[in-house]
Amino acid sequence: MAEIVVETVALRRTFGPLLAVDDLHLRVEQQQFYGFLGPNGAGKSTTIKMLTGLLRPTSGQIRILGMDLATNTVAVKSRIGVVPEGLALFERLTGAQLLNFVGRMYGLSREVAAERTAELLEFMDLKDSADKLVADYSHGMKKKTALAAAVIHGPAILFLDEPFEGVDAIAATTLKRLLQRFISHGGTIFLTSHVLEVVERLCTHIGIIRQGRLVASGSLEELRAGVKVAGHEQAALTLEEIFLQVVGGTKQDAEVISWL
């Protein structure tokens, strides 16, 4: 059995009276491409923030690479890479300076950081803009820079919060290439996304969260086996159909705005 690299036990997070994540039990194995799905406000971003140390859980336990996150924060952070919701970039540095700097924060030597920066800029098609301030980059360029910053130190796990949101098709292809390469080299990816087609194509395993609770988890085949939809007994269900069945909430024609 493969090593479990991300595990949460009874994870819970509240914001005042709002219960954002409730009794979350997650298990992600090494080299899995785990897609974490859910409708808006379901608790995806809150979960990923807790898993990466950006947010403290109200209760529960998080173990990353076998280490307790609360007591081994620095050791865990040095082994993971993150593309957070707001990207968290130092926008007053150039793309090259930023990647170089992030590499050195993770303990890379000056020479190695510079070398990897050049390779990443080349791979991400950011070479021509390497000396421009990140503040002047387009949204897609910033996303690519954030992903480059997340992988520069060679992490064991990548946490990506909506990496394809607002990214054009060309940039998305580049990102996908990098992620697939990362998985093939033994890495693990935990990703949230609204784009179900992308998740269906890339992810090996999927978890669906609704109102802060994990309502389905497993490989796509396992989810298909567990979800039955009338009229689809023979044909394989798409992820969208599984998602809608698990999460519910689609409106009937009668509920749609009357004047439209």
């Binding site: 947010l55 700097f101 992030v102 303990g107 510079a114 503040a135």
Partner: protein, 504 residues
Amino acid sequence: MSAVGYVMGALFALGTSAGMCAATIFMLRSGQPHLLEFLLWAVFLFWQLVPLLFEGFSPGLNFREVARYPVTLRLYLLLNAAYGVFDPAALTALLWLLSIWIGIVAIRPAWALPAAGLLLAFAALNVFLNRIIIGVFERFQSTRKGRERVVVVLLILMLVPQMFNLMINGLIRVPWAHMPPWTLNVVTGVRHVAPPGLVLESLVPGTNTVLVPLALLAGYLALVVFLQVRQLRAVYLGEIYAESFQVQRELKVKPGWQLPGMSEFMSAIVEKELRYIRQNARLIVLLVNPLVLCVFLAFAGSAKQKFGFGISGGIGLLGAFALLLAVSVSNLSYNTFGMDREGFGRWLLSPLPLQKVMRAKNFAQGGLITSVYMLGAPIILYVRHVPLDLVVAVTAAFFAMLIIHLGAGNLFSVYWPKRIEFAQMNSRMASSAAGFASLLVLLPTAAAIGAVILATWLLKLNWLPLAAGLAGLAVSLAVYSWLTDWAVRHAEDHLEEIAGALGV
């Protein structure tokens, strides 16, 4: 603008207009009509500069956006001119012109008609010229670099009144009597071709005919109308003025800095901080301000009178410079994550404890302020004599204050984090709460310094400043450590609030 602001503005406009009318009457009654040119210059400068300053502090309606609405070019031109006329500064200037005209009519009724025509032409010229300048300004504002450059220019403009203040107080002497003759020629030349001078020469003909100034005035008016129409037509037709990228052919990534005696990450953070500061020209202006003042005061002959002669003059100046600089570190340290903005999240994601990040940031901030001190202090010591023991005492006190300010800055940064907007003139470098809390640092340090000076003077304890400076330095290190630990504990308990305030 609030209701109080409107009332104050209206009172200002009415009060100054009454003054303009009274001044006109006085000038004409005393047979000195040429003095009217001063009033016209006041109108001209006010009309051109004040709306620009307002625009820099709080940008109003951008007319580039208005062009995107379904309006004809003619309507767009009219709206633009009307917006120029109804600007509060323009309305005030128009009131001033009306007051000048009333003054003229009261004393010289025969000038009523030509004065009305000339002042109307002058007003039109001001409206169009101001709209052209604002248009160029908006063009700058449409790019990040442009916006930041505008902020720097406005900050430098704000230093001018400070220099005037020093001149008025006699700290800087301008040898007007010894100005070279060509400067007078330049001033006279400008007067003869500038709109205020032309209006006056057309109204009160001297030895020359009025035709030349009138023709020049008409020419100016035609030129500004032409330029305004051309500028607005380009905007109306969809002119795009955005950041442009220069394509770089070959990618060379230079390794980062390695500072002697520093770890890899410490060097990296110091490099990052200094790069950030270097790219923030507004901050550089704020940091250079004490140095500029120090150089002016060091070389100003009359500074001796203000600070006393000989040794006390030099030590006073060095002490004031050290104090000003140590306090100016608050621009950097009181909101230490403010410039990082969403980048604050990167510190949280990195495998570096916040304490190390704060210390490295403080090292960069303190190093920069120390460099400015090392530039300014030798200039003072070159011009004024200060005994070595007092130099050491002031320098030790400077470092003590600097270190305490850095520690307090760490605490204020996590208690009252504030996202800094680089291209907004009115975006403060730290929160108002941090500004008030700084009194908790300033008052005790000022009291300690005052006590040392008083004790030295009263008890003739010449060794006291040096001993107190060195003791203060030792105490400051302990205080810094205590404040920084406190800041880290608070930050770890309030990460989400800090991140939220910084826009992560």
